[in-house]
């Protein structure tokens, strides 16, 4: 990016990142809360947008916000003391068939926050390790480690 880089119009940024954010949220907080988190994520992004440096990694930045909104949603859910093993990404809704692998996604939902985000960012949002690190606020090496630990845990708890 050149020094003269300017921020793209917000709509372009929204269009370029909405799929990644939506997938991330769908997989990390579930269908019921995905839209609320999505709206909150991009409203927060819109408020902060003009202060952003033009050469920022915009995708990692917005996924950081989404990651934090997802953490908030998980905390709020924990406070409401919903029983374990709630349906997550595969939650049924009008017109939406349940995901085919509920066991796996329930297990993903049960991972520690950083591992869960790393797994979801990697396999749902298709982010490279560098962007995962930026999104969850750690080093690339730590992101890689969280990802591998998360995968290891999933292999242990999810029947093949």
């Amino acid at each position: 990016m050149g020094v003269s880089a300017t921020l793209p119009p917000f709509q372009g940024f929204l269009d370029a990142n909405r799929d990644a954010v939506w997938r991330f949220l769908l997989a990390s907080v579930g269908r019921e809360e995905a839209d609320d988190c999505f709206q909150e994520t991009f409203i927060a992004a819109l408020r902060a947008y003009p202060r952003l440096r033009a050469d920022s990694n915009l995708r990692a930045w917005v996924l950081t916000i989404a990651h934090n909104k997802a953490l908030d949603a998980h905390r709020a859910r924990a406070r409401r003391a919903v029983p374990v093993s709630e349906p997550d990404a595969g939650a049924e809704g009008p017109g939406h068939p349940p995901a085919r692998d509920d066991v796996l996604w329930t297990a993903v939902n049960g991972l520690p926050a950083r591992q869960r985000s790393a797994v979801v960012l990697r396999f749902v949002a298709d982010l490279p390790h560098r962007d995962i690190a930026a999104a969850i606020g750690c080093s690339e090496e730590a992101a890689r480690r969280s990802l591998h630990e998360g995968l290891a845990k999933l292999r242990k708890v999810v029947p093949a």
Binding site: D19, F38, L151, A152, V158
Partner: protein
């Protein structure tokens, strides 16, 4: 990308990707969520600029407005993306698509194009217009439907009697054509002069307004 290649881990990766609950419908849902977000941002004033595109007899127009009013109208030859990029640089990058916010503009343009409206009643945002442009375009905005002025007459009203070339430049840079009717400014002899949107459009607008007799022959 990864050094990991043992079978069980690889299959977990594949399984995570395969059952991704989002993939099938994700794009459709994400687009709908993004559209809700954009409309909400425009309605609640969180965005500084809202825009939409609309079909017209002169091609697909882009219109953009701020909280002050209509700030930009662009013909399709100006690429929509570059129009938005320039708005981002000059006013604010907080730009979202909202058909709702621009609905009054769309309706009035439609009425105008079908001959049911002779003057626009939408507030204008003049922030893309400099001091000299302001004088020229204010004078232009006062030309009534069906009327025309010459470049030198507009220059006179704008207080720049010798500056008809500068006046022409200011008219050519009109960020809100049609609504600020720079098509109503002609050469002194009645020749069309110039038009940033192309002379065919200028002729079409003048014929619509009855300032120019409908003519079969293209100009000499």
């Amino acid at each position: 990308m990864s050094s990991v290649s043992d079978g069980s881990r690889e299959s977990m990766r594949q399984r995570l990707r395969r059952v991704d609950p989002a993939r099938r419908q994700a794009s459709v849902e994400a687009a709908a969520a993004a559209a809700r977000l954009a409309e909400r941002a425009a309605a609640e004033g969180l965005a500084d600029i809202a825009y939409t595109q609309l079909d017209s007899p002169l091609g697909r127009l882009m219109v953009a407005g701020t909280s002050s009013g209509l700030v930009r109208l662009a013909f399709p030859e100006e690429q929509p993306d570059s129009v938005l990029e320039r708005l981002a640089t000059r006013i604010s990058p907080r730009i979202v698509h909202s058909a709702t916010r621009l609905e009054p503009v769309r309706r009035q343009l439609e009425e105008y194009f079908t001959g049911r409206r002779r003057r626009f009643e939408v507030p204008l945002d003049w922030s893309l217009i400099g001091p000299f442009g302001w004088r020229v375009l204010s004078a232009t905005a006062a030309i009534p439907y069906g009327g025309v002025l010459s470049y030198s007459e507009v220059a006179g009203v704008a207080g720049s009697p010798r500056g008809s070339r500068a006046t022409g430049n200011a008219l050519g840079a009109n960020p809100i054509p049609i609504v600020i009717p720079c098509h109503r400014v002609l050469r002194s002899g009645g020749a069309l002069g110039g038009y940033a949107g192309g002379l065919e459009r200028k002729r079409w607008l003048l014929e619509l307004e009855g300032a120019l007799a409908p003519s079969q022959q293209r100009r000499a």
